[in-house]
Subunit: 321 residues, 2 copies
């Protein structure tokens, strides 16, 4: 790293792509940093773990989201990561920084939201820490267990079918609505406040033989790019097969937005994307949207150019100017 | 919680003591919140986990501590919690919030410090998250495994010997030195920058039959208070047996401080305190400092009153005014 270089010049992805490979990994580590979650092999149990940080201002605004919604979201983004490995979450821990003048009932609601979202998958909030900070920051760690096969981002093979389960673009649309000063439609705004990832679909896809999987946290194209990179393959997307809801289309038209920026670039719905062997019948609730091919990178069939606004949102970097 | 009540009015301990008991715990949770770490029983493996948050301004200052020292400390406080359960840490995850204008080399040093401290116990940093925030906040989660008996805060019995392993008061003295504008003596200042808890002593004490254990993070008397509360016993401390280094005595005299405020009230050295059955010979590096008795609370033999300054520091509350 060049002396005096600022974090925002290097960027989140730039810093991590340089730093993560330098972390030494012990013999008990089956999968280190760089996937949706890490895997530790404790001999008779494979434990899966991940951490996500939500910071006020970057990830939520307290005038847009209540404590309960932030609590649900902080847990949901982690549950989705564990599900994307084919695992189920058992326990969560929360590290919370908050200003002293925060209304204590907001924190009560935060805890309530965490418990609700965890209970939905049978997981428990088992511990945490609460400290003073200038802004609200919520760090949740999820600990899961692998009952079946592990699915990483690295197993896709040419010929595999690329499929998606869950919503795309709803959270991005909801954020766009809020940013324009509206509080409705409720379905979109709520999607920004708290995602509803298809948790159970992760282990189910693993059991059915999914060869690679990821949760859509950076945006569909950006996350397919991660699968492409880590599997050493190309991904060809058929945009006509990517589900776009009528509600999103209408809202995009109303706001003068290309709906593709939300659907292909919006990341916070935490849908699951998996690559299935070609002979695999699509499981229920999964939609085939493309094919794994020889080569590198992500190609969208029929797109001459990347829609305006999509480049910036695909692979959102918190430190980008 | 009364409507409109602020976090600083309720306090960290007040909020947690009210909130934690409301968290539902699933059948796989062997020990929920309220101890040094939680324990999840995965059938053939007992996983131990804890989270600690360090926030710039509250827990460290960047003009007093380098990134490497903050990284070591953020890991150390968690390793000590895992050790205090009798477990060994296998993996750690780090959630980091940082301002965009932070020098990227500071974050490199942070990662380096985390790796160094983890490597000392054979653990790996397996994952994390990096996001933008107004101040540096580092949340580390440690995941450990129990190879032997679990030791909680709740097992002490009247007649047990109370013993300590590790340093007391050094970090508090180092902080006092820094707060007065000095940068030496180095041993004290370094103790504030990064503790050196006796990690291996935790599982060793568990194997020898320790009935209760805690790491000293709030201060010796405050943490003995936690053992007293959770075991339903009283603790009688013989202050003449509590180790006080000559260096601390001299520094306290020089600064006009009662050294007992550091030794009995200072929390950040993360010594281990355990209660051993009366017939147990003290293991190497452990010093007997008192006895578990019938009753409640912590009593220091021969003290007519609590030394000035100790009340405030015992059980440090981040939100107290």
């Amino acid at each position: 790293m060049t002396a005096g270089e600022r974090l925002r010049d290097v960027g989140e992805f730039g810093f991590l792509s340089r730093m993560l490979p330098t972390l030494p990994q012990g013999t008990e580590v089956a999968l280190g940093p760089g996937d949706d979650a890490a895997v530790v092999d404790l001999g008779r149990t494979r434990v899966v773990a991940c951490t996500d940080v939500l910071v006020e201002g970057s990830h939520f605004r307290r005038d847009w989201s209540g404590g309960r919604e932030v609590g649900r979201k902080a847990v949901a983004v982690n549950l989705a990561d564990i599900a994307a490995m084919g695992a189920r979450t058992v326990a969560l821990l929360a590290g919370v920084a908050a200003p002293g003048d925060l209304d204590a009932s907001w924190l009560d609601a935060l805890a309530q939201g965490m418990v609700e979202e965890s209970a939905g998958v049978g997981a428990s909030v088992v511990g945490g820490d609460l400290v003073a900070g200038d802004q609200v920051a919520v760090t949740v760690t999820a600990i899961g267990v692998l009952d079946g096969p592990l699915v990483t981002r690295a197993g896709a093979r040419p010929g595999d079918t690329v499929a998606v389960c869950g919503r795309l673009g709803f959270a991005a649309a909801g954020l766009a609505v809020l940013q324009r000063g509206f509080r409705s439609p409720r379905a979109l705004v709520d999607a920004h406040r708290c995602p509803h990832p298809p948790y159970a679909a992760g282990p189910a896809a693993a059991a059915l033989g999914a060869r690679a999987m990821i949760d859509v946290s950076d945006g569909l194209l950006a996350d397919l790019g991660h699968v492409s990179d880590q599997s050493g393959v190309g991904v060809r997307v058929d945009p006509d097969r990517v589900p776009v809801s009528d509600q999103l289309e209408q809202m995009a038209r109303g706001l003068g937005v290309d709906v593709r920026t939300w659907v292909f670039g919006g990341g916070e719905d935490h849908a699951l994307v998996a690559c299935f062997p070609p002979e695999q019948t699509m499981p229920e609730n999964w939609t085939a949207i493309g094919t794994v091919v020889e080569g590198t990178g992500v190609d969208v069939a029929g797109w001459d150019s990347i829609p305006e606004g999509l480049t910036a949102s695909a692979g959102f970097d918190h430190f980008a100017r």
